[in-house]
Every structure is written in C-alpha cells, then in structure tokens.
C-alpha cells in the first residue's frame, strides 16, 4: 500500500496548481464537484497502488567528456564526467505505482472526469514517491548531494528534447529481471504507465561543484 501521506502531499500540490487552484478558489458548484473528483481520485490511487521502489548501482566509465553507463548508454556530459572522476557514485532508481490506466478507468467505472483527475494525481503521487525514495537513499550520506542526470535523445525536428527510449531500455535492463516489475514498449512507454526511472549521481562533499 502507498502511504496516505504521499497521496495527500500529491493532492496538496495539485490543488496549488493554477488550473486546479483557480477552479477551487471560485467556489460554488464547480469547486464542490472538483473536490469530489479529487476525493475519488485519491481513493483510486490509494486502492490500486502497489508501489515498487528499486535502486541499483550503475557502472560508469569516463573518457574525457564521454561517459559509458552500464556498458550500453553513451552520454556526453563534461560536468558529469568530472564529477564521476571525483568519486561520484552513479545509481539508477525505479519507482512505480504498479498499476495501469485501464485498471484505473475500470475502478472509476469508466467515468472520464474521475479518470482524468486520477491521472493528474497519480503523476504527482509518483513524483512524491520518487522524491521520498531519493531522500531515503541520501539520508545515510549527510552532506552529500544527489543530482539527477538526464539521458536525453537529440532534438527531433527541432522539438523539445526527450528521454531516449533506447537508453531507457538499456538502463531498465540493468535491474534484476526477477525483481523488476516494469517493462518498456518500443515507443518509450513504461508498463505500468505510472513509473519513473531516474539516473542519480551521489556526490561527496569534497566533490561538490
């Protein structure tokens, strides 16, 4: 079960987002209806979540500004290369709420509005879960910094840079298959959908930039 505090934390964040905050602050029937949707969404996320939190150390070799992670993912990142040479430790973290959208839609009795709010809430809950996981991972290392390392594809047709599905797949393959509850489609979607994979650098105090 997912801790109620994480779901409540996610709900509080959502209620502060302009699109929700504006509707809630206007009061009246709209705000009441929205609160009811948020209540249902909280129940849904709490009922369906089967949280998984995995972390593994990841090997990284540097060659100048180039980095080869887990012998499969190539990155060019001068700052990361320098930090790795300064005793930085690289790890991959995987957090999943452990349920998929079709299960949530069924739980909501195919109510599109409940399902939509559930999706917003699940995303925030997942991020709250990942932040909590990162804090717990860093806790035994007072004074160390935990830095998120992006693994991005080249810009496609001038559009925003996205995580490279092939690199994500290579990182995911580092997790022991018997304990990893997550897979990735060829098109770059996690199954279950509410999953986040991150590459973190743990940097000792003397290694700080």
């Amino acid at each position: 079960m997912l801790g109620a505090s994480l779901v409540n934390q996610a709900r509080a964040r959502i209620e502060r987002q302009a699109r929700y905050a504006t509707a809630l602050s206007r009061g009246g029937a709209r705000a009441s209806a929205l609160r009811a949707l948020l209540d249902r969404a909280c129940q849904c996320v709490t009922a369906l979540s089967r949280p998984q939190d995995l972390r593994i150390p990841v090997e990284a070799e540097t060659d100048g500004d180039d980095i080869l992670i887990a012998r499969s993912v190539e990155l060019r990142n001068p700052t990361l290369a320098r930090d790795l040479r300064r005793a930085g430790r690289l790890s991959a973290g995987l957090c999943s709420l452990g349920y998929d959208q079709d299960a949530a839609f069924d739980w909501a009795e195919r109510d599109y509005a409940v399902h939509h709010v559930q999706t917003d809430l699940a995303r925030e809950t997942l991020f709250a879960f990942a932040r909590a996981s990162d804090r717990a991972f860093r806790a035994p290392h007072p004074g160390w910094r935990l830095i998120r390392v992006p693994v991005q594809a080249e810009a496609a047709c001038g559009e925003r840079r996205l995580w490279d599905p092939a690199a994500v797949q290579a990182l995911l393959a580092q997790f022991p298959t018997h304990s990893c509850p997550v897979s990735l489609t060829d098109t770059g979607f996690f199954r279950p959908l509410h999953t986040v994979l991150r590459l973190n650098l743990l940097l000792p105090p003397q290694g700080r930039r």
Binding site: R30, L37, Q101, L162, T185, T187, F189, R191
Partner: protein, 213 residues
C-alpha cells in the same frame, strides 16, 4: 414542462458543473414529456459549446471543463435511453483512439467528453489501437476517425493509419491531435483536420464533416 427560466438554469448548471441540478432538471423534463432532442440541441449542447469557448479563451482550465462535461453527461445518461427508442440520429458517429504504441489516454478522453457534449456519438477505441481496429470502426458506421499521439515516437503511426484506411477504401474523415501534433504535420500527412485542444478537436471534426468553417 421546463420553463425558459428552468432551461436557463440547466444551461448555467452545465457550465458550473452542477451535476445534481442537471440531473434533477433533465429528470423532470423527461418525466413531463419534454422534447428531449430539442432540449439537448437548444440548451445542453450550447452550454458545452460555451464551456469550450471559455476554455479556448483561457477563462477556465481543464478541471472546470471536466466538471462541466461530467454534469452534461449526467443529463445525457438520462436522455440517451429515451432517444435510443426513437429515430433520433446523433450529429455524426465518431471513433477515437490513441494510435498503436501510444498508451496515454488523458488527451483523448478530454476529446471524448467534449465530442459527446457537442452531440456526437463517440466510440472510444482506447489506447494502443491497431490500424485494423480503426478500419473496423469505420465499418461500424463511424464517419470520422480521431487519432491521438503523445510522443514523437508514436506520431509516425498516424501516417500508417491514414495509409491503411485509404488502402482499405474507407471514406471516413481523419482528425488528428496530441501533444506532438501540429497543423503543419496534419497537412503533410493528409489528415482532414487538426484539433489543437479538446474544444479545438470538436471544431476540427465539424470542419472535417463540413458542419462548420
């Protein structure tokens, strides 16, 4: 029968997302023998159109559109079985799905709600929908196919759906939308229309069918 004031209240209740009032007024209209098709056409659909316009103008956000659409659906759920027993025809039959390989449904679902609120009959094919499933939906009488894609990795699948529909002789109009889709892309791949957001998708479907400019 509902008075003009009652109809104004129904309009306002949909806009405000007051599902309870919508259900109450529509139930009364049904029980008192109101012309429900006309109530939908003259009061309820214009209310959702107003909600769409407010959203497009930036005066309300998605959550407010959601509660309005849900209130509207509360009324439609009461009216639909009554209309189904008559020769009432929807504005058109539309199918919608996220293309093969795409597992996101949030944008698609918003479009489903807004299309229903505009008087269309909508067949939701879900996510990760194969080309063959879109073609089969055309065979079931859908005259518009709406395609959604979230990522650049799934956007090329839209090209394949259009090619498949053409190759299998389907005459349905194709409307596309999604986070990575633009009007230029729609023009390049030969889609009939592009919807920039959920209310925009409704306008795009109407344009594709020649129901609006």
């Amino acid at each position: 029968m509902l008075t003009e004031e009652d109809k104004d209240d129904l309009f306002a209740a949909i806009c405000d997302g007051d599902r309870e009032t919508v259900v109450s007024l529509v139930t009364r209209a049904r029980d008192e023998g109101e012309d429900l098709a006309r109530l939908v056409k003259d009061t309820m659909i214009p209310a959702m159109a107003e909600v769409g316009e407010l959203f497009s103008a930036g005066e309300i956000f998605v959550p407010e559109m959601l509660v309005a659409a849900r209130a509207m659906q509360g009324g439609i759920d009461i009216i639909e079985p009554v209309l189904a027993a008559t020769d009432h025809e929807p504005l058109a039959r539309v199918c919608i799905g996220s293309v093969k390989g795409d597992l996101h449904d949030i944008g698609k679902n918003l479009v489903v709600m807004m299309l229903k609120g505009a008087g269309f009959e909508v067949e939701d094919l879900g996510v990760d929908v194969s080309n063959e499933a879109f073609a089969a939906a055309c065979d079931r009488g859908n005259s518009v196919v709406c395609l959604s894609a979230l990522l650049t990795t799934t956007r090329p699948q839209m090209v394949k759906v259009i090619a498949h529909l053409k190759a299998s002789g389907k005459s349905a109009k194709v409307v596309i939308g999604g986070a990575v889709v633009t009007q230029d892309f729609a023009d390049i791949i030969g889609a009939d229309a592009f919807g920039e957001d959920a209310p925009g998708a409704v306008r795009a479907v109407k344009r594709a069918l020649g129901l609006a400019n």
